[in-house]
């Protein structure tokens, strides 16, 4: 889906990626390669996997993260590696993941400062990149690391103010849906981000269980949070199967395996 950012739009879009009973990381890989190919400046807060994982999958999808990072197009925060740095060595300046060293759940201000610094427009002669993008994989990890849902929502709010409103860029956030497990903090987070989103992509496992040919179902929901009296939100549902280098989508019940 091409994000349409015409001159009449006054803000960038917030896209929420959500997965329930399945792994929605294929959506993250898609958006990462999509925005890099669209020549956007991307700040990727990658909390879940290592850099080389995203790089190798990115190469299958046609982008080279190492080159993008060297060119300055991609600013990559590798959560796992940074956590080790923060935990075992005292840092001189505030580190984006500074909260790991703190006893009480603080706030995510250092992380926000990192994002703002990464995406701020550089005063060079020509505009190298089209628009900035913030990508987060994934937000639920911050809850596991001791942050409260409210602190994480504050972080999203600050990022949205800077990235979407001020810089007219886009945000793509992945949040897990805990489903049956009553993870209150996660539910608060998910609801909070849903209300602010323009587009929600929800990957769900099939209700009947595992199937080799259909990996899950993708629900697409368009919302307009800025207009409270908007017409009914539009939604579509597709089923998908993930392959080695791509994902194939088909209408419900139309999987090639069944037809």
């Amino acid at each position: 889906s091409r994000p349409s950012l015409s001159l009449t739009e006054i803000e960038g879009k917030l896209t929420l990626l959500c997965d329930a009973k399945t792994d929605g990381s294929f959506l993250v890989h898609h958006f990462l390669s999509f925005y890099l190919k669209a020549n956007c400046k991307v700040c990727f807060v990658a909390l879940f996997q290592s850099f080389s994982h995203y790089n190798i999958v990115g190469q299958k999808l046609g982008v080279n993260l190492t080159v993008a990072r060297e060119r300055g197009q991609l600013v990559f925060l590798e959560g796992l590696k940074s956590a080790v740095d923060v935990f075992f060595q005292t840092q001189e300046e505030p580190h984006p993941l500074q909260f790991l060293r703190e006893a009480n759940a603080g706030n995510l201000k250092p992380l926000f400062e990192f994002v703002r610094e990464a995406l701020k427009p550089v005063d060079s002669g020509e505009a190298r990149w089209t628009y900035p993008v913030l990508l987060v994989d994934d937000l639920s990890v911050l809850l596991s690391l001791g942050m409260g849902a409210v602190a994480v929502l504050d972080f999203i709010h600050y990022c949205r103010a800077t990235v979407c409103w001020e810089l007219k860029g886009n945000m793509v956030i992945l949040v897990h849906d805990s489903g049956d497990v009553e993870d209150e903090e996660n539910d608060i987070l998910l609801n909070g981000v849903s209300h602010q989103s323009h587009l929600i992509l929800r990957a769900e496992g099939l209700a009947t269980g595992f199937c080799r040919d259909v990996h899950g179902q993708l629900r697409i929901l368009w919302r307009r949070p800025s207009q409270p009296t908007a017409q009914r939100d539009q939604s579509l549902t597709y089923q998908y199967k993930i392959q080695d280098k791509s994902v194939s989508f088909f209408a419900k019940g139309m999987s090639p395996a069944v037809l």
Partner: protein, 448 residues
């Protein structure tokens, strides 16, 4: 409008991701050349490590878990840089066995071990490791190095054991270059093998008494100490490539027992909303960070059945790479169920990681049972209710088929009929025919 990810033109093959291993931040996810262990390598850096092999799917370097059946279910083995979480069975009878097989595999392959426990002294754990079943081929390989000295009292217990009497005198490499071994649960690993191996133990009661100044953060002191210990070993012995003095080309196998139990100082097993509810998840995150940047693999057993707060279990699962759960039949109603009489419990593959890939190696068979035979721990596809009797019937006299169908319908439970994927699971034409018949028959049964 669907969001279709376009297939990239493939800028650069995946094989070109082999970066030079001399860089200080070597990650364990580099693609290694698929060479059999032991052969000479042409490139200066593609040295193969004993007991590892690259995955066929994504070139990920794998080590054996110590159970070849489990290796197969996990897509070839446990990937280096990842953590395998085992949800303990209720009475903690079978999970220690998997734990010990993992460690024994490390000794047999010549890997370095790091054993952490709050309940048992690691030295005692190592004494109780099962003995490997080495076949004659690997014995022959070994003979060339070993001084062939027949002693009159060579006939000690196992036929294999006498070869190892000469071990302590010489520097040995791995005992066997095979990937994955079988272990005899009724016998102990030879003492010489333990003495020749390189291992580090972390026994919490010993470590916690020393007064090391720790900054207060929301991890329990036991976890902090363990993380520092692991990080220290990884750095000192060069498993992450950052130590200029140490050039390590070996794998570190980390085993952590009963993580999360009250003996570690964590209260998630005692209280629903404990004071340190993030301690364990933070620990796992930092641990995974350590693993990703070093040549190590970790196995953790956790008494998840004791954890009161289901949220924590879900978060722990999300933060682990591979998760399997053991459910033993002891004390449950299934113990007397004739369907399960050959098995000791069920093994659930809860999560398989997607590493360097959009897809993962999920096995098609979801119902797996294990049994501990006299010597071996085996995993088999569980005979499912309804289908189970059918597969037995196929072997028996065919003419008794139809009367047994009625019995089958009594046994067959509705969820089986509704699960659409079960029909695809039938392996040969005859079985699929039988499944189809059952479907049609029962559908008509409910129509009057």
């Amino acid at each position: 409008m669907a969001a279709v990810a376009t297939c990239g033109s493939g800028a650069g093959t995946t094989g070109s991701a082999v970066a030079t291993a001399s860089k200080s931040n070597v990650t364990s996810f580099q693609r290694r050349g698929p060479r059999a262990s032991g052969t000479n390598d042409s490139g200066p850096r593609l040295v193969s490590i004993a007991g590892t092999r690259p995955s066929v799917r994504n070139g990920q370097l794998l080590v054996s878990t110590g159970l070849p059946a489990l290796d197969q279910l996990l897509g070839g083995g446990l990937a280096i840089g990842t953590v395998l979480l085992i949800e303990e069975d209720k009475y903690n009878i079978y999970s220690p066995l998997l734990f010990k097989c993992f460690l024994a595999e490390g000794i047999v392959n010549g890997h370095t071990l790091l054993v952490a426990s709050a309940t048992e002294d690691p030295a005692n754990i190592l004494q109780e490791l099962p003995a490997p079943l080495l076949d004659d081929n690997s014995k022959k390989e070994f003979d060339e190095d070993v001084y062939n000295h027949k002693t009159p009292e060579s006939n000690i217990k196992m036929k294999i054991a006498w070869r190892y009497q000469l071990l302590p005198k010489m520097e040995i490499g791995p005992v066997s270059s095979r990937f994955g071994h079988y272990y005899d649960a009724s016998k102990r690993i030879p003492q010489e093998l333990i003495e020749a191996s390189n291992w580090h133990g972390f026994f919490l009661p010993e470590k916690i008494s020393s007064t090391l100044k720790v900054e207060p953060c929301s991890l329990t002191p036991g976890y902090i100490k363990l993380l520092q210990f692991i990080q220290n070993i990884i750095y000192e012995e060069g498993f992450d490539g950052s130590n200029p003095q140490k050039k390590q080309r070996n794998v570190l196998r980390i085993g952590i027992q009963n993580l999360g139990s009250p003996l570690w100082g964590d209260d998630i097993c005692c209280a629903e909303n404990g004071s340190n509810s993030h301690s364990l998840t933070k620990f796992l995150y930092v641990l995974r960070g350590l693993l990703r940047t070093s040549l190590s693999a970790c196995i953790i057993t956790m008494p998840t059945h004791l954890i009161q707060n289901k949220t924590i279990i879900a978060r722990v699962t999300n933060l682990s790479d591979t998760v399997i759960g053991l459910e033993s039949f002891i004390g449950s109603e299934r113990e007397t169920n004739p369907l399960y009489k050959d098995y000791h419990g069920l093994i659930h593959i809860r999560q398989i990681p997607r590493l360097n890939n959009l897809i993962c190696d999920e096995s098609d068979v979801k119902d797996l049972a294990f049994k501990l035979k006299r010597k071996l721990f085996t995993i088999e596809a569980e005979v499912q209710k309804g289908v189970s009797r059918a597969t037995f019937l196929l072997d028996g006299p065919r003419k008794k088929l139809f009367p047994c169908l009625f019995q089958l319908l009594e046994v067959a439970c509705i969820p089986w009929l509704m699960a659409s994927s079960s029909i695809f699971r039938a392996s040969n034409i005859f079985e699929s025919f039988l499944c189809y018949q059952l479907w049609v028959f029962s559908a008509s049964l409910f129509h009057f």
